[in-house]
Symmetry: C2
């Protein structure tokens, strides 16, 4: 099975809206073994949508269209698909009632143009939309499956995960066991490859490496029929885990911060942060995790020497002697955060994010990260390339990995 | 002039890498009045690239290809373009020497496969790459312009802005004066439209509205020849500014945080933050601005009641009486941040980001934001829909807008 994606919307062609739907759908389809052969972004223009769909139906057995299901005149995806299939649009009374209730609950009368959203292609299956008024739909056509999804990402994602993906897997059009992503940190792509190759002679599955800062996604694919693909994948995962050990921090949808959160919650450990050059990014990443208040007690962003002394309690002579960007200050910040927030673990991050150096002339990209626990205080000196944002992101990644290692191994 | 974009890369079709190049190029082309008619994402497959390019050349007079210019075997964009134009690839000795120096400087010998990157299509103009080894190129072909750009965004962006955009404008293929984006906050799309329409009878230019949380981008386009388009645009901007006043916070590439930074620096004012439900995101946004240390003294993320009392100095009875998520606590946090960091302005943000409520049973999405100055303390109660991230982002946007208004108007 091969898929084509057609993303409809003028706002995608002007770049006013980022097309996050294409990446989301590609990842989801890939995870069930359905490769995407092409993605097209086209205008809200019936002729253009029809041409793209005609081309896709010749090449693929699954075509997903996103966007153009709204109530306004420029929303014409439904009409274009109906026209190319030679099918009429029919009014779905149930959906009409649902929309009327949707507006009624909010104390509003349904605008006339929303009625259009209850028109569905004859013979199609409606996909429920819990987050908006545009229903999605699926229709089988000469051996191909055509899926229409609304453009807003939070509507599309829920609809795809809850209704389309189970349909694909249930109808043997996808296979949940053929792709696995192992998420690594601490070694670059080439070092990982070397380590895997030197771990012994065995049939390697197909591995793709994708680096994101210090993290590397290692995607492995099983081939052949579902049962043997699944067995090969399980075997490969076992061997890779034994070769790479704690360089693997998670799999599939897991994130580094999510893994750290799980470890801290499991160990009943609390965390406090003191950030300088990372500017609050680490705190932001941690608080994106639902339930992070279970372990995260708080953080300070001490963006100048006074705040380091007055808020975090560092001694001014330490700052003067060692310099704000130094191993000793990172350690003192980690200890300070631990004590200020009465937490089990404290993190200190100090460095030069750029674009300019500080008064001391330390190079842009020089960063010290320290993690303190009741038993020890560990630290690292790093030299990052890249811009201001990259320095912030990598500092946060390193800090999370250091927390992970300290909790897992005690050092 | 019409443009087509062809983004080459298997990693884009698996969703392992987000295709940020398409949006970037679309915005840039749109800003010089060149509409993008279609974006295709295709595999690293010569036949597929040739088919996409053939189709694009029939429809458009500007075709930009991204990706596939690397040194490895799967990088074949150059080869595919040369084949369809019927032109040979020739070795560019200057680029070869440049690459050899690039590796030499890093104490490395140039790998053999990098030699491929010095092969250029006969008759094409090389585009310098200051950030990598893949040169870009431009070639005129039967009235159309074909541009090849490397895939890594930081290489592509610099190359496009410094070399391609000036070429397009210089050769009258684009016009810098035909599009302007005014950035608004404080009114939704429909309210903005109403205000604009009620501001008097005048020929409105074409206006597109795009909402990003509480911000709305208002894009206006001038039509006709460059001189009259430019005049119409200037006139429209003047009228819109007079109709919308301080609801407009900036234009084009300006950001809300960037505008706030300018205002604070100009007024020699400093800022301290106390965040709870926004979890450090506001601090992260502010510290993304180069030079933010000029006005930003620091922030605390007080993620539990103890931290609010012990770090920020709130009274425990206030928390017990009013509840952690309350107007009074937001105000006390703003005052506390101002005093803790000895800043001119303090911000307090407290709320329920979800997915679950707190023990008090306050609804998810309820947020209080307060800004305190030496003269006054202003606050707002907000009820946000959307998920955890949306609550964080909108809280940060509102706080920035409140700072902006307090400094601009004194209330």
């Amino acid at each position: 099975m091969q898929a084509d994606l057609i993303c409809v919307g003028n706002e995608l062609l002007t770049g006013l809206v980022e097309n996050s739907n294409a990446g989301f759908l590609a990842r989801r389809l890939c995870s069930v073994g359905i490769p995407v052969s092409e993605i097209s972004v086209v205008a809200d223009d019936e002729k253009v949508i029809r041409a793209a769909l005609g081309k896709a139906l010749k090449a693929c057995d699954l075509v997903i269209l996103t966007g153009g299901l709204g109530p306004t005149d420029d929303d014409i995806t439904r009409e274009a698909v109906a026209a190319i299939l030679g099918l009429p649009l029919v009014l779905n009374r149930k959906w009409l009632e649902k929309m009327e209730q949707f507006f009624c609950k909010r104390g509003l009368k349904m605008p006339k143009n929303n009625r259009k959203q209850a028109l569905v292609i004859e013979g199609s299956t409606i996909l429920e939309n819990k987050r908006g008024t545009a229903p999605g739909s699926m229709i089988e056509h000469e051996g191909s499956l055509i899926v229409l999804l609304p453009g807003p990402p939070h509507e599309l994602q829920m609809m795809f995960d809850e209704q389309v993906l189970p349909y694909l897997v249930g109808h043997n059009r996808g296979n949940l066991t053929t792709v696995k992503t192992l998420k690594c940190i601490g070694l670059g792509e080439s070092m990982l490859e070397e380590k895997i190759k030197s771990a012994g002679e065995w049939d390697l599955p197909q591995i793709s490496y994708v680096a994101r800062g210090f993290e590397v996604d290692l995607q492995i694919k099983g081939c052949g029929d579902p049962a043997s693909a699944s067995a090969a994948l399980a075997d490969a995962e076992k061997r890779l885990r034994s070769a790479l050990g704690t360089y693997i921090f998670g799999s599939d949808d897991q994130t580094l911060a999510g893994t750290v959160a799980e470890i801290l919650i499991a160990g009943k450990l609390t965390l406090g942060l003191a950030e300088s050059c990372s500017g609050g990014l680490l705190s932001d990443i941690i608080t994106d995790i639902p339930g992070s208040s279970k372990f995260y007690r708080g953080g300070v962003v001490v963006y100048n020497p006074d705040a380091k002394v007055e808020v975090l309690g560092l001694s001014r002579s330490l700052l003067n002697h060692e310099g704000e960007v130094s191993d000793a200050v990172a350690r003192a910040m980690a200890e300070g955060a631990r004590s200020l927030f009465r937490a089990d673990l404290g993190v200190g991050i100090t460095g030069i994010a750029g674009p300019d150096s500080d008064l001391s002339g330390s190079p842009v990209g020089l960063v010290y990260v320290a993690v303190s626990s009741p038993d020890l205080c560990d630290s690292m000196e790093l030299n990052f390339g890249g811009g201001r944002r990259a320095v912030k992101e990598r500092s946060a990644q390193i800090a999370l990995d250091m927390i992970r290692k300290i909790v897992l191994t005690g050092n």
